[in-house]
Amino acid sequence: MPYLTAPQIEARMAALAAAAVPAGLCVKIALPVATVSEGIGPTTYSYLKIGNGAGAGRITVLAVAGMHAREWAQPDAVLSFADKLLRAYQGSTAFVVPAYTDTAGNAHGPLSTPAATVKRMVDSMDILLLSLANPDGRAFTQAAMANVGWRKNRAPRVVAANPDTAGVDLNRNFNIAWDYELYFSPAAAASTDLSASKDAADERFIGPAADGAASQPEVKNIVWILEHHPVTYCVDLHSYSMLVMHPWGIERNGSDATKTFSNAAFDHLRDGTLGNAYSEYFPNVAPTRLLDRHAAIVGSMRDAIRAATGRTYTVGGIADTIYPATGSFTDYAFSRQFTVAGSPPIHAFAAEFGDVADHFQPSYTDPHGYPRIEREVHALLLKLLEAALPPAVAPPLAGSGSKWCIFSMAVLDLAAGAAWLATLRQGRTVLLGHRWTRRPVLALERVYRRAGRNLCPLLAQRRWARRLIAYTLVAPAASVTARALRGRSR
């Protein structure tokens, strides 16, 4: 069986949507902007939305594949993931990543996600799968063996006489530090360490200066997805190098809250990987602990991949792990929580599947080629969905033993909720341990539980009210508690 072509990927998505029961379980949605390419298209293409149910409180997850034309494996693996997820859900069976025996004869896996977990995933989340983000690029690479290494899209060439000046690197075209000569110091912008280029013949071409960021139809379509779905977990799937990464890609990660991509005071000053004077702020304060959570999730993805195939992927921040790169999807999706008012925390990831021997088109038939990559993609995607999954049952505050806990109900469908509650539990334990605070706390809890009996049934039906309490009471209380606990420990 050969790799799928772009039209076959569209047809496969249509078949999956048509076969899904109940209706609406899997929907194929056409993207609004057609491609503008040299000799191909214009092409209209689609993504899948898998999810059973609607309404408030649903988590939205997005996986993107095939952004680079030559990386053939991930689009096929995302489609087979959709197929297996739907089959497991409809058949009330586990999603099984089959066992694998490596070249040394060592057995790995199988990995099994229980049917009940699959059901929770599909019932509580909208799972968006853009299996092929660069259809014309893939069509070009598959048209002739001489094109096998093409990475960019097929935007019309900048220099008519130079065919290499066709195309833009889509993963350098997003609106995050896109003009790297503005974002970085002159030395950092000129560094060979930086993976971005203003040379149209370069395979990392960011796009024509006159057109600005997000100029490419394929990028506009992904931005459209982010603007029309409340995506809070996403991943961009690439090959190769055996990496699972989180932001930032534009710079190393830092803890100084003034050092942000949007702070113009640092324009032309950021030093990239040439020095340590500037590092991009990655929030990691309680209660969300965003950096810790990203690190934990990429760690769980690495562990799942290792369990599936025995290969150990390297994890870390993009700039720390591979190289600094501007204008990437992962950084852009992550940055939206800082630029879009009222955004909840957003978790963004990128992965590079396979090794140099797999190369960009691993053998489809060799069990150590595509079938191994496919297992790794599925293992990672399952971990992403698990990470995004809201807790099955809201954990009650320790000691309250009450199902009428307002705070637990308020954070029921928030990924950060468990961390907030854990912080509050620690604070409560401290307060109960002091003679002067124990009695007031217990008296307050009696009032709290009485109020909970009246409020919780109402909150269960009203997402806006849960959000209001979560963000105006629970999160600030957890933040204050965390600071107090830190102060106490000093």
């Binding site: 069986m1 050969p2 790799y3 799928l4 072509t5 076959q8 496969r12 053939w72 693996a77 489609l79 087979s80 197929d83 297996k84 089959r87 990543v97 089959p98 598959q142 063996m145 001489a146 094109n147 096998v148 290494g149 093409w150 290499d164 060979t192 360490d193 993976s195 395979e203 990392r204 190769y240 190098s241 990987t273 591979i322 190289y323 140099v356 021997a357 190369h359 960009f360 088109q361 691993p362 053998s363 489809y364 038939t365 080629g369 079938p371 496919e374 297992r375 599925h378």
Partner: protein
């Protein structure tokens, strides 16, 4: 742009980052993945397609060159990838 000429082997090179510009000037050496840092800051890891002459040139510059996949094996891999493209695929069967 790299191509699938039979003379290209898949190689991995460990090089001084200062050599990058000279490496780019070598004929028939196509860097495939941007250089990745290693624990040793004086060494970067580069994966590339390179024919025999290009491998020799890279070694002469001081790079450690390891052939990960021979030219013959790489040619077969690419030929397999293109074989049957566009034919109607078999139905999805959870092949992994």
């Amino acid at each position: 742009m790299p191509n699938a000429e039979p003379a290209y082997a898949v190689v991995e090179m460990l090089c001084d980052p200062a050599l990058l510009a000279q490496l780019k000037a070598i004929s028939n050496l196509e860097i495939q993945v941007r250089p990745i840092r290693t624990p040793d800051p004086s060494v970067i890891r580069i994966s590339a397609l390179a024919d025999d002459a290009a491998q020799t040139a890279a070694r002469a510059l001081g790079c450690t060159v390891t052939v990960v996949k021979s030219a013959e094996a790489y040619r077969k891999q690419i030929e397999e990838a293109y074989r049957g493209l566009g034919e109607e695929p078999t139905p999805p069967d959870g092949s992994n």
